[in-house]
């Protein structure tokens, strides 16, 4: 029980991939202009990362068995790319409404380094299948949390009198910096 709690709190708050480790910054800055799109992206990422964590962990068993560990990066990134494609077409067929909501975000996920980072971290920390999946799910929740929080702030900033040269990326970066400071409070929890 406590390991799971450690994973949940650790992945969402303490070691938040965006706020504490600098992963997934591109989509974090790119898709955080509106809360609605941020939520959509977050859901899509959660979907993919959870499945990817499970699949890559399975694949690692095969790699270990074949002593092909050095191919990890190539295999993982290929799997992720394929997975995104599969998820996209599966969603299209199975749940058109969900596809409509998430479809536009899916292709962007391949280059979201959180996916690969989580997969590799699962292997390097030696998590089992269940823990890996949970870890992936929580990491994605953490990503979503950061994304939606930033989107909320950026939406609010549209109402403020922010100087024009702060608009866009510079402002988003400084907001993220201040956000990251708030996240530091959880540093010692685990």
């Amino acid at each position: 029980m406590s390991t799971f709690l450690v994973i949940v709190i650790g992945q969402i708050l303490v070691n938040n991939y965006v706020m504490c480790q600098f992963y997934g910054i591109c989509p974090f800055l790119g898709v955080s202009k509106r809360v609605d799109t941020a939520l959509g992206m977050g859901m899509a990422v959660t979907f993919v990362i959870t499945i990817a964590s499970f699949v890559t962990r399975l694949l690692q068993f095969a790699l270990d068995a074949l002593s092909l560990q050095y191919l990890q990066t190539i295999v993982f990134i290929l799997v992720i790319a394929v997975l995104v494609q599969v998820v996209e077409s599966a969603l299209k067929k199975l749940s058109p409404s969900l596809y409509q909501a998430l479809g536009v975000y899916l292709p962007l996920i391949t280059t979201n380094c959180v996916v690969l980072a989580v997969a590799q971290k699962n292997i390097s920390t030696g998590y089992g299948l269940l823990e890996s999946t949970l870890c992936g799910f929580c990491a994605a929740l953490g990503f979503t949390l950061a994304l939606v929080l930033l989107a909320g702030i950026r939406e609010r900033m549209e109402e403020s009198e922010m100087p024009t040269w702060m608009k866009g990326f510079p402002g988003a970066l400084i907001m993220s910096g201040l956000m990251a400071m708030a996240f530091m409070g959880f540093n010692g929890l685990i």
Binding site: R156, M157, M162, G171, M175, L178, M181, A182, M184, G185
Partner: protein
């Protein structure tokens, strides 16, 4: 007989509340704690307060001058930031600490986002956390008060009452400061957060003047109290001591109630305050690195504020429920 009549649209009368008046009220409410800090920590406290306020006001003035925008230092908001920042610094800190903090607070946290009302994070708190993360040695070297030195203790103990309380809760039976000393502020700590009587007095003033919403301090302190009671085995004495230790009172009355960085809806304010209390408790109770969670708790809820406001937006009077 009637010349230069003005033509503007209604309403034609305004309340007497002004931004400046509100900020002045906050300064008045902060004054007792400032005086207490000078009494307890001596001239160095006065120096830090002065430097901090001057830095904040000057930074705001110079930035606005440089950017060619309207100078707004006369609204007193920079003074409030300066005071709050100073209250979060221990008296033993070197004088460049409030300078760096003040510039960071006003420039990065406030003015870059558009100045008063536009910042999404409390400038003083953000600056405190920045200082704390950067120079934690300086920021956690809490000097003893002048009255404690007389008792032959070290000038710098480095331990706030919280450290002792944590041990007491854990059952290791460390000595804790008495409630009387906690209330008076005769305990080590940063400048403004020690003298609880002064802070409570100021807080009451703000509530009476309707500058702040009582819900925020009440819910925040209430949440912490309830959590400590439950997790501390209903030890009332320790719970009260816990409430009176650290930055909770200062934070709950003066920083969590900051207009720009807390929600505006009544429900949102309650969620915000409970969130602050919860995170503060989690950090104080479960942390190993930081002795104090108040700043972080409020900062984190500051970040959540836009979403809270968004999701607790009131239904307008007569709003028809949308079907489907």
């Amino acid at each position: 007989m009637l010349k230069n009549l003005a033509i503007t649209s209604s309403p034609h009368v305004r309340s007497s509340a002004t931004t400046r008046r509100i900020m002045q009220d906050v300064c008045i409410a902060l004054a007792p704690a400032g005086i207490a800090s000078i009494v307890f920590f001596g001239g160095s406290a006065a120096m830090i307060i002065a430097i901090s306020v001057i830095t904040c006001v000057l930074t705001e003035f110079l930035y606005q001058k440089l950017m060619g925008s309207k100078i707004t230092v006369s609204d007193w908001s920079a003074v409030v930031t300066g005071l709050l920042l100073a209250y979060n610094i221990p008296a033993s800190a070197p004088l460049w600490i409030p300078v760096v903090g003040g510039v960071f607070a006003i420039l990065i946290v406030k003015q870059l986002f558009g100045g008063i009302g536009s910042n999404f994070m409390n400038p003083a708190l953000a600056a405190r956390v920045m200082l704390f993360v950067s120079w934690s040695g300086i920021m956690t070297a809490y000097p003893n008060t002048r009255f404690m030195v007389d008792e032959g203790m070290d000038a710098i103990s480095g331990a706030t009452p919280l450290a002792g309380l944590a041990k007491a809760f854990a059952g290791t039976g460390a000595e804790t400061a008495s409630i009387g000393n906690l209330l008076l502020g005769n305990v080590p700590g940063v400048l403004g957060e020690t003298c609880k009587i002064a802070l409570l007095l100021g807080g009451a003033y703000l509530i009476v003047r309707q500058v702040i919403d009582w819900r925020i301090p009440a819910c925040m302190i209430g949440t912490v109290a309830v959590l400590y009671l439950i997790f501390g085995g209903f030890n009332f004495e320790l719970t009260v001591k816990e409430l009176l230790s650290g930055g909770l009172i200062l934070g709950a009355f003066f920083m969590a109630t900051d207009y720009a960085t807390s929600p505006q809806t009544p429900l949102g304010r309650i969620i915000f305050a409970v969130g602050c209390g919860l995170i503060l408790f989690v950090i104080r109770f479960g942390e190993k690195t930081y002795p104090e969670g108040c700043s972080f708790a409020i900062l984190f809820m500051n970040v959540c504020t836009p979403l809270i406001d968004r999701w607790t937006a009131p239904k307008y009077f007569g709003e028809v429920k949308k079907h489907g």
